[in-house]
């Protein structure tokens, strides 16, 4: 099988999966399995979407949310991975933070909102903060777990070739060896950040989440679904981009 035909097969299967999903959904609405008004049929979304595009709300929401999303994702991922790596690699730090982590970890995104308001006000920074928090923990644990399961032999190899210090271990072993785990965390975070966009925009910052809640308050379910699919589209794009980067970084896994 040539690479082209293989990835074509993959693509085809993916399309089949989506067709089944939308088919079942359409059927569920048409056959009345879902009460009217709760979920519109996918076939009826076109006009609502066109209207949003025409009045510019769609483009504006995407622009705003992408800003929160990307900022929150980058900040949460970098900090989470960093602290996770450090806790995984430095026993003292791990012990010192063990209790603190357990106190802070379960605090829900919604409960952070008052602090976001307090520290950042009702603005983009607050929304970014809430997204960053949710992404932070995922990357923290992914990084921590990845460091914990590094083959100890690799540290010895590094030490035997002059990289036994903290920095040497970090750059020559910890980072490359935990890369698969880090990237798995990053990927989970890519989706988590979109899930958090709605919670983040709870406090009045415009964007897809705010628009979705607004539509939901007005029982405009077609718009809710349009924005849900918009998030799906944006997520699919970021995730596909990520997969390309991943393939380059982890080429050695073959």
């Amino acid at each position: 099988m040539k690479p082209d035909s293989k990835s074509l097969t993959r693509l085809g299967l993916g399309v089949i999966g989506l067709v089944v999903l939308f088919g079942v959904w359409e059927a569920a609405v048409r056959l009345g399995w879902v009460p009217a008004g709760l979920l519109p049929a996918p076939s009826s979304l076109g006009p609502a979407w066109l209207e949003e595009v025409r009045n510019g709300a769609w483009q504006a929401a995407i622009r705003d949310s992408l800003t929160h999303y990307l900022l929150g994702l980058v900040i949460g991922t970098v900090l989470g991975a960093l602290v996770g790596l450090l806790c995984g690699a430095v026993g003292v730090l791990d012990a010192l933070l063990a209790g603190v982590v357990r106190v802070l970890r379960p605090i829900p995104g919604l409960a952070w909102v008052p602090f976001a308001i307090l520290w950042f006000g009702l603005n983009t920074a607050g929304a970014t903060f809430v997204i960053a928090i949710s992404v932070f923990w995922i990357n923290f644990y992914a990084a921590y777990g990845a460091v914990q399961s590094i083959d100890p032999d690799l540290y010895e190899v590094a030490a035997a070739f002059g990289h036994g210090g903290f920095f040497g271990r970090l750059t020559k072993v910890v980072l490359p060896a935990s890369a698969p785990g880090l990237l798995a965390g990053l990927r989970t975070g890519l989706g988590q950040a979109w899930m958090s966009v709605v919670a983040a925009e709870l406090f009045g910052v415009p964007g897809i989440g705010a628009r979705m809640m607004q539509a939901s308050s007005l029982l405009a379910t077609d718009l809710v679904v349009v924005y849900m699919l918009t998030m799906a589209l944006l997520y699919a794009l970021t995730d596909m981009l990520f997969m390309v980067v991943r393939r380059r970084l982890l080429g050695w896994q073959g």
Binding site: P35, G37, V113, I117, L122, L202, F203, S216, S217, L219
Partner: protein, 320 residues
């Protein structure tokens, strides 16, 4: 015994439910009531649309949206009117009396916002709930229809969750907020320098608020409980308006989950006593005004006749 699932939001407007329950009036009438708490009217509407609740006690405006989407829900009683007030803090509250004496209107109000903008270099921020909620519509109505101020020019209105709104106000992230009891009393205690910028009456005389609405009220199974339930609800409303102190234990237990000091609950119930009005006919006109206002401002796309939202007959049959 029939079970009635009632969706409500945790504000004093829902207090009649707790009184009915506490006084065992429903049990005596052979009805089981199941209370389901929601964070906002719009959220409860979704449960209504899914048929997961039978009755609704929250703001009236989300019901307009529900009807516009084909949900057959009707208001059978009002619970409270003139609930929402605008509270200000910091520069925007400067010079206001501790207890509101006379309304600040028109030019005086404009002057206040202008002064604020001049001294702080930005527009005032006012917290409300998301577009389509009663607080948001009332705020806009107050500014635009009552005082001829363009909301967009006068202030930044931030529509957020109830909790976030309160927290934003406490943290000083907004300069004013549209609040209702018991939050008003609580905030007064936490932030003694906060002042009322507009009372419920100032915002709109007879301002509609919480109502009791029933889903598919003509369905055969409703007959088993509708009238008796309504009677108990109205009786509770009367009690709240005449003897607020008697309601303190019920409201403290159910609404506040026992979390608030008795004194606070008492103070806020006393402050609200005059707002408990049960006749649905008394809010038809104000709801019509608000619906027109929502249509004007493009919030409501498929307005239904307001008269269809109300079932005035059941209330009248109670002989009040």
């Amino acid at each position: 015994a029939p079970t009635v699932r009632v969706g409500y939001i945790p504000v004093l407007g829902s207090a009649p439910l707790f009184v009915m329950d506490g006084e065992h009036w429903l049990k005596d009438a052979g009805i089981d009531m199941q209370l389901i708490r929601f964070q906002s009217g719009p959220q409860a509407i979704q449960a209504l649309a899914a048929g997961k609740i039978d009755a609704y006690v929250a703001g009236v405006l989300p019901l307009l949206q529900a009807r516009a989407h084909g949900v057959n829900v009707k208001v059978v009683a009002s619970a409270a009117i003139e609930e929402l007030e605008v509270m200000a803090r910091g520069p925007l509250a400067e010079g206001l009396p501790e207890t509101p004496s006379q309304p600040i209107e028109g030019a005086a109000l404009k002057q206040r916002f202008d002064d604020f903008a001049r001294t702080s270099g930005r527009k005032a921020k006012i917290g409300a709930q998301p577009l389509g909620s009663v607080p948001d519509s009332m705020l806009r109505y107050w500014l635009k229809a009552r005082n001829d101020l363009d909301p967009a020019q006068t202030a930044d209105i931030v529509g957020v969750d109830l909790d976030a709104e309160q927290q934003a106000f406490l943290a000083g992230a907004v300069d004013a907020a549209v609040l209702r009891e018991p939050t008003l009393t609580l905030v007064r205690h936490r932030l003694p320098q906060a002042r009322i910028l507009a009372t419920g009456h100032d915002m709109m005389p007879g301002q509609p608020g919480s109502v009791l609405a029933i889903l598919n009220e003509d369905a055969p199974d409703r007959a088993a409980w509708k009238d008796r339930f309504l009677a108990a609800f109205v009786r509770a409303t009367d009690l709240l308006s005449h003897s607020p102190d008697e309601a303190v234990p019920y409201v403290r237990g159910a609404l506040a989950g026992g979390m608030l000091p008795v004194a606070i609950v008492q103070e806020s119930l006393r402050a609200s006593a005059s707002h408990y009005v049960s006749d649905p006919a008394s809010i038809v006109e104000s709801v019509t005004k608000l619906q027109d206002f929502e249509v004007q401002s493009g919030l409501l796309h498929a307005p239904q006749p307001v008269a269809d939202l109300f079932d005035l007959e059941s209330y009248r049959r109670l002989g009040k």
